[in-house]
Amino acid sequence: MTALTTPSAEAPRRTARAHRNRYLAGLLTGRGLTGLTLVGLLALAGLFAPLLTDLDPDAQSALALAGPSADHPFGTDDLGRDLFSRVLHGIGTDLAITFSAVPVGALLGCSFALLAASSRWADVTVQRAFDLLLAFPGIILALAVTAVLGPGRWPVLIVIALAEIPGFGRQLRAGILVQREREYALAARVGGASRLRVLLRHVVPNAADPLIVQTAVALSIGVFIEGAMSFLGLGVRPPEPTLGSILSQSVAYLSTHPTFAAAPLAATTALVLGFTLIAEALNRGIRR
C-alpha cells in the first residue's frame, strides 16, 4: 500500500463555476433526469394537492377499504377516506418535514465540521459532540425526544435534524482530514497560503463531494424516520396524513386489502428512489 503513492501532487483545480457545470452535466443524464422527474412530479403533486383533488383528505365516509375506482383512483382507507387525496397531502407533509429538517441538520453538521478544522481543541470538542449525538441513534433519539415532548410534527422535525448532524459533520470532517494531508494542500500551505484560505479554497471544495451522497441518504433517512416514528405511534398526529402514517395504517390490511398499501408504498419508494437517483447522477457528474 505504501509502495503505491500518488505520482502527481497537482491540485485538482476546480472552481465553483466548474463545479456547478459538472453538477448540471450529471443531472442531465438519464439517471439524473429520471430522479428529477420523480421528485419533481411528487413535489408538484404534494404542492398542488388541493388543486388536483377537491376531496378533503380527512373527509370520512361509509365506503371503507374500497379498491381503486373512478371516484377514488387509489381506493379508500379503513375510515373511508380518499387515498388519492391522502397520499397527495401525505407527500406534501413528508416533503415539508424533510426539506426543512435535513438542511437544518446539514447546516449544523457542516458548521461543526468547519469549526472542528479551526483548531485541535475545537476538533476534540466537536468530535465528542458528534459522538454524543451518535450515542442516541435514530429511533433511540426519537424515543428520548418524544418521551419528553410527546408525539407530533415538531418532535419529528427535531429528531430528523438532530439525527443528520453527525452524518454530515463527520463526513465533511473526514474529507477535510484526508484532503488536508494531500500533497496539493501541503504544497499550498508551504507556498504561504493561510490555513483558512487553504481550507476554504482547496480542502473544503474537494472534501464536499461525499456530502452530495450524504444529502440524498439524509433525505431518504428523513422519510424513514418520519415513517418509523409514525409506525411506533410517535409521529405526526392523526388525522394529518403522512406517507409513513398511511403506510403503517395499511400494513394491518396487507393480507386482505393489498391495494391499500400500494399507493403509499409506491409514493414512498418513488420519493426515496428519486433522491437516490439525483444523488447518484450528481456524484457521477462531479467525478467525471
Binding site: L79, G80, P238, P239, T256
Partner: protein
C-alpha cells in the same frame, strides 16, 4: 438438487456446479432440520378426547402489568392460571363452586357463610384455609391495589371463622354483586403478595405455576402437579406471548406459533372465519363498551346539552363497521345483551342525528368550540378517535387528539385527571348492574373520572347495590331508573359494545374466559 447434478456437466463450469451444489446442500439442510414455522401446524383434525401434555401458547397484544394484578386491567390472562377464585359464574350469571364448595346467604342479606375446599395447596406447599380468604378480602380493601371492586370488598366488616374451612363474612349492608366479588377476587398467598405485585413471584393455588417472565415478550407457566382438580390441568405448560403488532399476532396464529388469542381485531377475525384451520367463538358478554367520557369541570362539556349533542353526533354504525370490523353492537347504553339491565329501547336511545346535535348546541349557546380529546395511542383506538373526531367536526365541535399510552390513560382515569373529552372502553357492564355504578371508574357514584355527582344518582345506585338480589321486578325498575339518569346526564356517552372473540387453532380445545376475562385453562388440551 438431484436435477442439478444430473444435468450434463459440460454445460456448467466447475465453479457454477460447486455453487449450485452448495446452494442445494443449504436447501437440503433447511429441509432436513425441524422447521420453526411448522412445529405446530402439521396436525390434522385430531381426536376430541382430552389428551395430557403439550404447551399451549396464547398470543396477546398487551403485556401483563404486575402492579395491576388485583385490578381489572388490559391483560387478565394470568390471574386464573396461577390463582383461583371462590366461585365462578355460568352463562346465566349463576355462581358455581370453585374454592368455595357451597355458600349460604343470611336471611337479611348481611352475611354469607362459605364452605371451603379442604384439599387445596398453594404452590409453596402451604395449605389453603379460611385465613387466606380473609387476607384476599382485606387485600382488595387496600387502596394501593386499585381494585375496582373495592367498594364491595369494603362492605365486608367482619370475618367469623368456624374452623379452618368455614367462614362467615359479615356485611355492613346487603350487596347485589357479592358473587361478582367472588368471581373477581383471586386468592393470593399472603406471604408473597408484595412479590406478586412486583412481578417477581406469583404464588397461588391455580392449575399452573409461574416460571418465568420476560417483560414485553413472554410469561411462562408450568403444570401444577398438586392441583386440587383431579387430573387437571391436561397441559404441561402455558406460554403467554406478547405480540404487540396486530399483523404479527395474526401471522403467528396462521403459522401455528400461537394456539389461541383473544386479541385479534374484529376486522382480522372476519378474514379467519371461513378457514377450517381456526375455531372462532364469540362471547355474548362482549369485550367492554366503547364510550366518550366528558370531564364535567371543563368548559362547554359541563353543559348537559353539549354532551347530549355529542351523543347524537356520532355515527355508531360506521364506528362498529370501520373500527370494530362489524364485531360489535351499536349501543347508547352500557349494558350488553347478557345484562339484566339490557333493553332495546335503552340501546337505541341515541342514534346518528347531526341536525339534532346542532340544535342542542345552539340551544346551549355554543358556537364552534375546540376541545382536547385523549385516546389510547394504539392503531385500533387511534382509528376510533379519528372517526369520532370527524363526526364531532360535522356538528361544529373541533377536537385536538391527544394520543396517550394505555397505562397513562388508565392512571388519568383513576386519578380523575382526564381532559375535557376522552375515549376508552369500560368493562363491568357484563356483571350485576350495580357493579358498574359502584366499581367502574367512569361510573362510580362516589368518585368518577367525569367529576359527576348527583344525590339522585347516588341514591339510586345505593338502593340497587344494597339489595340482596338483582333480578326481581323492583331491582329491574331500579336498573332502568339508573339507566335513565345515565342516558340523560351522558357524562359517559356509550357508543358500542365490542365483541369478545376467541380465535383458536384447531388443536386448542376446552379454553374459556370468566366474566372478568380471566383465562381458564383447567380443561384445555391440545389435540395430537
Amino acid at each position: 438438487m438431484t436435477a442439478f447434478t444430473s444435468t450434463s456437466p459440460s454445460g456448467l463450469s466447475r465453479r457454477a456446479l460447486l455453487r449450485g451444489s452448495l446452494a442445494g446442500a443449504g436447501l437440503l439442510t433447511l429441509a432436513a432440520c425441524r422447521s420453526a414455522a411448522d412445529t405446530a401446524s402439521s396436525a390434522a383434525s385430531g381426536s376430541a378426547t382430552p389428551r395430557r401434555g403439550g404447551v399451549l401458547t396464547v398470543g396477546t397484544g398487551i403485556d401483563f402489568t404486575p402492579s395491576l394484578l388485583f385490578a381489572q386491567s388490559a391483560n387478565t390472562l394470568v390471574q386464573r392460571l396461577v390463582f383461583n377464585t371462590l366461585t365462578r359464574y355460568d352463562d346465566q350469571l349463576r355462581p358455581q363452586p370453585e374454592l368455595a364448595t357451597s355458600w349460604q346467604l343470611g336471611a337479611d342479606g348481611t352475611s354469607v357463610t362459605l364452605e371451603l375446599r379442604e384439599d387445596v395447596l398453594f404452590h409453596s406447599g402451604r395449605r389453603f384455609t379460611a385465613d387466606d380468604v380473609v387476607f384476599a378480602v382485606k387485600n382488595l380493601q387496600n387502596p394501593a391495589r386499585s381494585a375496582q371492586l373495592r367498594s364491595t370488598a369494603a362492605a365486608v366488616t367482619e370475618f367469623r371463622k368456624n374452623g379452618d374451612f368455614e367462614l362467615t363474612l359479615v356485611l355492613a349492608h346487603p350487596v347485589s354483586n357479592l358473587f361478582d366479588l367472588f368471581e373477581f377476587m383471586i386468592i393470593p398467598d399472603s406471604a408473597s403478595v408484595e412479590d406478586a405485585v412486583a412481578g417477581t413471584r406469583l404464588i397461588g393455588t391455580g392449575p399452573f405455576t409461574f416460571t418465568q417472565r420476560k417483560p414485553g415478550s413472554s410469561i411462562t407457566f408450568a403444570r401444577n402437579d398438586r392441583y386440587w382438580n383431579p387430573g387437571r390441568p391436561y397441559l404441561d405448560g402455558v406460554e403467554i406471548r406478547i405480540v404487540p403488532q396486530a399483523e404479527s399476532l395474526l401471522s403467528s396464529l396462521r403459522t401455528g406459533q400461537t394456539h389461541l388469542s383473544y386479541a385479534i381485531r374484529g376486522k382480522d377475525v372476519a378474514t379467519l372465519k371461513g378457514d377450517p384451520q381456526f375455531r372462532v367463538k364469540q362471547y355474548d358478554t362482549g369485550s367492554g363498551a366503547y364510550y366518550i367520557g366528558a370531564d364535567l369541570t371543563a368548559e362547554h362539556v359541563s353543559d348537559k346539552r353539549v354532551r347530549q349533542a355529542i351523543a347524537w353526533a356520532v355515527d355508531r354504525d360506521r364506528l362498529v363497521q370501520q373500527a370494530l370490523g362489524g364485531y360489535g353492537t351499536v349501543s347508547a347504553a352500557p349494558w350488553p345483551r347478557s345484562s339484566p339491565a339490557y333493553s332495546e329501547a335503552n340501546a337505541t336511545r341515541y342514534s346518528h342525528n347531526p341536525d339534532k346535535a346542532r340544535e342542542l348546541l345552539k340551544e346551549a349557546g355554543v358556537g364552534t368550540i375546540t376541545l382536547p380529546f385523549a385516546h389510547s395511542n394504539d392503531p385500533g383506538n387511534t382509528a376510533i378517535a379519528q372517526i369520532l373526531q370527524y363526526d364531532l367536526r360535522q356538528v361544529g365541535i373541533e377536537t385536538v387528539l391527544q394520543p396517550t399510552d394505555s397505562p397513562t390513560m388508565q392512571k388519568q382515569l383513576i386519578a380523575q385527571s382526564m381532559p375535557a373529552l376522552w375515549t376508552l372502553s369500560h368493562g363491568f357492564a357484563q356483571l350485576q348492574p350495580a357493579t358498574l355504578t359502584v366499581s367502574a371508574y367512569p361510573f362510580n357514584e362516589a368518585r368518577n373520572s367525569s367529576h359527576f355527582s348527583s344525590p339522585a344518582y347516588t341514591e339510586l345506585v345505593q338502593q340497587a347495590w344494597h339489595r340482596p338480589d338483582s333480578d326481581s321486578p323492583e331491582a329491574k325498575a331500579l336498573h332502568q331508573r339508573i339507566t335513565d339518569v345515565l342516558l340523560d346526564e351522558e357524562f359517559v356517552i356509550d357508543l358500542a359494545i365490542g365483541g369478545l372473540v376467541e380465535v383458536a387453532g384447531r388443536q386448542a380445545r376446552g379454553t374459556d374466559l370468566n366474566k372478568f376475562g380471566y383465562l381458564n385453562l383447567d380443561d384445555a388440551y391440545l389435540t395430537a
